[in-house]
Symmetry: C2
Subunit: 339 residues, 2 copies
């Protein structure tokens, strides 16, 4: 591999001039610049970023840590973040904490600790105290997406109010028998969000003087398949079923809709369903939902990182506390059929 020395020699200038010509830092005469560029091209010169980073102290590399990448929310966050970063000439290094504990430990103890990053983004991760300590030891900017980390800049939607709003929508349509399909405890441990959504749901019911029916409080793993089973079972209960259901994710809402249909129920006439997410497939299912725009959340995290790195101006005024969401009214909700 040609190094900067080879280029300098061929162009008849010093390595300092090559560095300046190629990086754009500092003044270089047009003639030198051209000579350098030509020499670099002829030699297929490729800059060593390790050397460059070591010398300059900047890596132009951002880390992102998430519990999985193969789910809708995460892959969309990643799509947004990677596009924004690549566009700015930054690399994105991906860390996945899924799998065994040993695996997660490796990420925090080794991978993230190697100073290759200018900053890091964590997505819906609840870190242990030692993990947070380790992350801080790197002394780089940190942004949390979705989860709430102590003393870390956070971008997140208002889960409580989203759930309350969706519930109020159902109540205002006339529903009083309303179920909730949230996440299992497993998810609450890591993400904390399903419980905020449940809280919002219960708050809205309480405000309307409606009792929560414990039988209609379900949980699943955010997938369509398990949601289908749970909802189908609930709807088959001969002792009564709700007329509406709030789901903590759109994919679970799809499962709920399919389950209702398979039982011969008409959605929304016999059974209303609301989701939370804004999944593309929601259109096909006619799903009423609250869109949270994960791709834009990923972009926003990158923008915030750039501001913390001083690469971009801080916005004037105070940052909004919550990332904006949007109520999307479609055909899966309607007043309950009059008995």
């Amino acid at each position: 591999m040609a190094s900067i020395k080879d280029v300098a020699q061929r162009a008849g200038v010093s390595v300092a001039t090559v560095s300046r010509a190629l990086s754009g830092n500092g003044k270089v005469s047009v003639a030198s610049k051209q000579a350098v560029q030509q020499a670099a091209k002829e030699l297929d010169y490729v800059l060593s970023y390790n050397a460059s980073s070591l010398a300059s102290g900047r890596s132009r590399n951002i880390g992102i840590v998430m519990p999985t990448v193969s789910r809708w929310y995460y892959s969309n966050v990643l799509q947004g973040a990677t596009q924004e970063l690549n566009e700015r000439g930054y690399d994105l290094t991906l860390y996945n904490t899924s799998g065994e504990q040993r695996h997660r430990d490796a990420v925090f103890q080794d991978l993230l600790m190697r100073q290759r990053l200018d900053a890091a983004i964590t997505v819906t991760l609840k870190l242990t105290a030692p993990e947070l300590h380790q992350l801080r030891a790197v002394k780089k900017p940190l942004v949390a997406l979705g989860g709430l980390l102590p003393q870390v800049d956070t971008i997140r939607v208002d889960d409580f109010n989203i759930a309350a709003l969706a519930t109020e929508h159902l109540i205002s349509l006339g529903h009083r028998d309303i179920g909730f399909l949230g996440g299992t405890d497993e998810f609450n441990i890591d993400f904390k969000l399903p419980s905020a959504r449940l809280d919002g749901f219960e708050y809205a019911l309480d405000q309307a003087d409606i009792q929560v029916n414990q039988q209609w409080l379900l949980d699943a793993d955010f997938t369509m398949t398990l949601a289908y089973q749970k909802v189908r079972s609930m709807l088959s209960n001969p002792r009564g079923r709700p007329t509406a259901l709030l789901c903590a994710s759109d994919e679970m809402a799809f499962g709920a809709i399919v389950a209702a249909r398979d039982l011969g129920l008409n959605v929304p006439r016999d059974f209303s369903v609301v989701g939370i997410d804004g999944h593309e497939q929601g259109e096909l299912f006619g799903l009423t939902t609250i869109a949270q725009h994960p791709k834009e959340q990923g972009e926003a995290a990158v923008t915030l990182i750039m501001q913390l790195l001083g690469e971009e101006a801080m916005p004037q005024g105070k940052a909004p506390e919550f990332f904006p969401t949007e109520f999307v009214l479609r055909s899966s909700t309607a007043p309950p059929a009059t008995p």
Copy 2:
């Protein structure tokens, strides 16, 4: 930040010994090792990977380039690859070529060219000649997943035979009026796979002396939503509709099934549907499909990379030409209703 010098000083040894103790390369006495580890811990020492990589020539960092990450196939490949890499103590750097051309150029001209990688994986990318030249200039191992790159180790499924097999399944059930829902030209340009699937479909029909009905050759963008529209339109055609449909992706097959149901058709009695992918939701839709295990493809790509890097032993015998797939028979296919 504490550097290796600080650790050496505190532990009362040389930097060489610190390096050996922490990396595990070379012999170190137990006493020295303990002193070093303790000093490192007390100082919150974090290794600089840039310095380490520069000195050793190895980055322990693999690049992966894909056209998007927010689609089922890609996010699963990524999930498999990142898990395998993290487990081996490797980083994964993600490049996304979606978006504007300028963006794609940036990835190939700048990001990938910076020698930060030990190797790279491209996923279903058809590279231009200059792009391939640039990638080669880096002189690192390269593995192609899904696409076929000249003179590059490739992992891919046998698209032609998969499609032929699925088609033969329908023919053997008694279908003769069979449609195909593939990818639009846009996808063929980048990926090349939809056309291989179409070829396999046509081959199977030809073998059975069945004429291809051009009216039933549809294309979409691999999403459920557009597939729904296309299939619904085809099924509504008063001049006749097929009794079965092969879809080049499971998500499109879901759209097809929903479209048929919305028109009052029974799947599979009135209309059989086969997919290609092995999407988790297939179970819920009862979709007969051919599973291609993208997560495992991602893992296999990593294993191959490790072999090329000499980190793992090459397998004995010749590598199989194609990545294995699996026929999954469920309830979306049946003999056509007798007219």
